[in-house]
Amino acid sequence: MTMTTRCAAAVVAVSVCWAAAGRAQDVTEPSLKAAFIYNFAKFTEWPAEGLPLAAAFNACVLGDPAIGDALERSVKGRQLSGHAITVTRLPIDGALRSCHLLYLSGVTSAQIASIAATLRGLPILTIGDADDFSHLGIAHIFVENGKMRFNLNLELAKRSRLQLSSKLLALAAHVHDGPGTAVR
């Protein structure tokens, strides 16, 4: 079979499934981000008092509804260290303190800074894609040369009593540890 035929066969096989669903919005980037978000949670440890044994893991999404949908698809049927996962979509004045993970998008830097100040010290893994998120939250997702990457703010993670695995730290483009410093 030639390569073109192989690809054409794949196009027919899958486009049949999707044609019925009819997708107008872009789901690729949200899906990729959701995969990253789940991966961050997988390689982070929460203090026992922040995430008791029987509690469900509360993954919150503020802003972009496409990320909430993608995250819901991504975590379906999955657990985090034995914890069931719930995805909660929140408004900016929602119950942010009940989150174990908080993805922030579509909000201004000033709003992110104000939220970060409110949540300071709480064991909440903050994730975002705003340009200056590296300084305001723990995991910053960005696109560089067409590739999705992330920075980690280790100082903020420590302050939030979250343990980021060495594996995760090794994959980060940059690890910020202390004001104005970038390790690696």
Partner: protein, 170 residues
């Protein structure tokens, strides 16, 4: 042609995007058969008269950024599900000279391919995206870019399908 003739070598080379496989010592009949095979003679997509060189994806770069097998598997699944849909959209948009359609679908495909370190597909998608952004579509250039993208995508899907867990193959 290679001296690597162990079981599995053939699949490995084909998965990496080679059109055929011949191991030493050379069998005269096998050599002629390979050169005359449809694979060796099939027209390939062209971009400015050149084929984008190299492997369909840089697995080392991908592993450096995504590391964890779980994340690689997930991003691979996203791409394998998304690629055929985007290609169908791009094909339709190119035929209709629909700039918005080309731009949106090519941008999405570029992101998924780029995150897999699949530069040839990402690059072909970027060419189409730029074309759509630049202004009126030049039909011949758009058709050529589409053929390149289609061929590179097939190469990548094949490489991923051959190496991905069985559950990801389609």
């Amino acid at each position: 042609m290679t001296a690597h003739a162990m079981a599995g070598d053939r699949d490995r080379y084909l998965a990496a995007g080679m059109d055929g496989y011949l191991s030493k010592p050379v069998d005269r009949n096998a050599l002629f058969a390979a050169v005359e095979s449809p694979q060796a003679q099939a027209p390939r997509g062209r971009l400015d008269g050149r084929l984008p060189p190299g492997a369909p994806l840089d697995r080392e770069d991908m592993r450096r950024r995504l590391g964890d097998d779980g994340l690689i598997a997930e991003v691979t699944t996203i791409f394998l599900e998304d690629c055929p849909v985007r290609l169908a959209e791009i094909k339709t948009a190119v035929a209709a000279r629909d700039r918005d359609g080309i731009r949106t679908a090519a941008h999405a495909l570029k992101g998924a391919a780029g995150t897999l370190s699949a530069s040839p597909v990402a690059e072909c998608a970027r060419v189409l995206e730029r074309m759509a952004e630049a202004g009126a579509i030049d039909p011949a250039a758009a058709d050529a870019a589409w053929l390149s993208l289609e061929a590179e995508s097939a190469r990548l899907v094949h490489a991923l399908g051959a190496s991905a867990p069985r559950s990801l193959q389609r």
